[in-house]
Symmetry: C2
Subunit: 301 residues, 2 copies
């Protein structure tokens, strides 16, 4: 099969739109799509200081690579979660990825900072739940303490569609209201954005391979059997039946998201007594989970 | 496996709650569930005149059987859609079903009334779309012209979950606002209710077999490949992973349905120039589709 735009052999056949593209035209297509996402949703400006939360996986590797290529002012943050047999391997990949794009890399090691790794903490909360809280807290505080304007994550359309899908299935409408490609900053909350919001996992894998990005393919051992993986399978089934379902579902959601705005529980936002960061109660959930007596220090030395 | 409540062999093992029941205890369970739906959603009162729209299939056969058993004042309406090789077969079943429960049956034959059968009409609209319009119009006008208080349909939770699912997937929020076990009557719109709203297809099949109801198992030839059938499969996959998903999804929806109320397009309701029934435009979609010059006469002779 030939590329739609030149005489070369096709490297990939896209599902939606249904076109075959050679390697070069696919790279161009993919990068244009990401650039348009940045523009369409006004994610950030040229002069903003960007912190990319990087994990070793394909998504964050691709987003950091592409932002660097677009000449944005980026630095990367890797949070080593201390998951034995997994986190250190990811760290090695992250180092190679940042070296490849010649970008500063900051590493926060949970075990050193907090005394134990994810999965080893005694708590009643599920592992993925307090891991999520920990990652969100650290990336936000790191960005805030070191004057970044925005935190970038590698979430793609498969992640977003499955998140929306799960929250609709359970009618967790309060989560839907805040979901989207950009979460504006407010007070000590630094702005969070998702430049890969409209590209699929399949396209990301193909792009990484096309430009020579190496990444960890193992999943975190704690993620096994996660219901979100089933949601992704289901959405991919629907996409096969009707190509374009995924993007229509996500964009359709964004158009109707305002319907859920009244569902956000608006409690008073306090300053956490321990760390001074925003909190619903007296002590924020991060400081509570890790039973902290003083704020973690994340300033770049 | 023994019944949970007696020493008899189990007739069915329910998925949610996960209990085995003998034939008698299953019949009791199923009927209690339907009775509770009628009470919970206040579908109708003892003295209301009920018209059951009956098709020959399992759902409407079961709902008419059970309402008769509960001593409601019911009559049945069969709309023969004139689908060759299908509708006449359904009519035979309907006659047997109504004879079994000793209930008056009215038959409206589309071919005689309107000149051609469903699927033979020259129109730009998809067959299932104008068939739906036709069935809704006829059952409503029949009920209105003959002083019924309520129209009962056999929709079950699989139908409802897949309808909600499809409309969420496409964010057809205006359809979601009106979806539910009861659509109140207003003006010439007679109240519509769904007593099987909380029972599954599987339970209905088991109940029909338990009480000896015979029904058509063929699907309408025009329904083949309908996307709603895929939605049902997907919801059943989710139900297998997490039993109870279906009922939680539908009940969760009902709790949040008010969020979609503002989405209903509130046009002026006129009287159709041809038939006098409610219409968005000058002529209602039924009279337009069938190109009518005068109202169809549906009064019982």
């Amino acid at each position: 099969m030939k590329c739609k735009f030149c005489e070369k052999e096709a490297y990939i056949k896209l599902y939606h739109p249904k076109i075959p593209l050679c390697r070069e035209h696919f790279i161009e297509y993919f990068e244009r799509k990401v650039r348009r996402t940045i523009e369409r949703y006004k994610l950030f400006k040229k002069d903003e200081r960007i912190l990319v939360a990087i994990s070793g996986g394909k998504d964050s590797a691709v987003v950091s690579y592409i932002l660097k290529k677009f000449n944005y002012d980026i630095q990367c943050l890797y949070i080593n979660l201390g998951v034995r047999g997994y986190s250190d391997k990811c760290e090695e990949y992250v180092k190679k990825q940042c070296k490849m794009i010649d970008t500063p890399l900051h590493i926060v090691k949970i075990r050193e900072l907090l005394g134990s790794g994810i999965g080893e903490l005694r708590t009643t909360r599920p592992t993925c739940s307090y891991c999520g809280t920990t990652k969100r807290y650290i990336s936000n505080k790191f960005a805030y303490d070191n004057n970044f304007d925005v935190v970038v994550t590698g979430h793609n359309i498969d992640d977003e569609a499955s998140f929306i899908f799960g929250n609709v299935l359970n009618w967790n409408t309060q989560y839907l209201a805040k979901q989207g490609p950009i979460l504006p900053g407010e007070g000590k909350f630094v702005k969070k954005v998702k430049p890969l919001y409209e590209v699929t996992e399949r396209e990301i894998v193909a792009y990484a391979s096309a430009v020579g990005i190496d990444y960890v393919t193992d999943k975190c051992p704690y993620s096994k059997g996660a219901i979100t993986l089933r949601y992704k399978e289901i959405i991919n089934q629907l996409e096969k039946i009707r190509p374009g379902t995924k993007i229509k579902f996500v964009r359709g959601f964004l158009k109707k998201r305002h319907l859920f705005e009244g569902e956000i529980e608006k409690g008073k936002i306090n300053e956490c007594k321990v760390c001074g960061m925003p909190s619903g109660g007296k002590v924020c959930s991060f400081c509570r989970i890790w039973d902290l007596r003083e704020a973690v220090d994340l300033s770049i030395k």
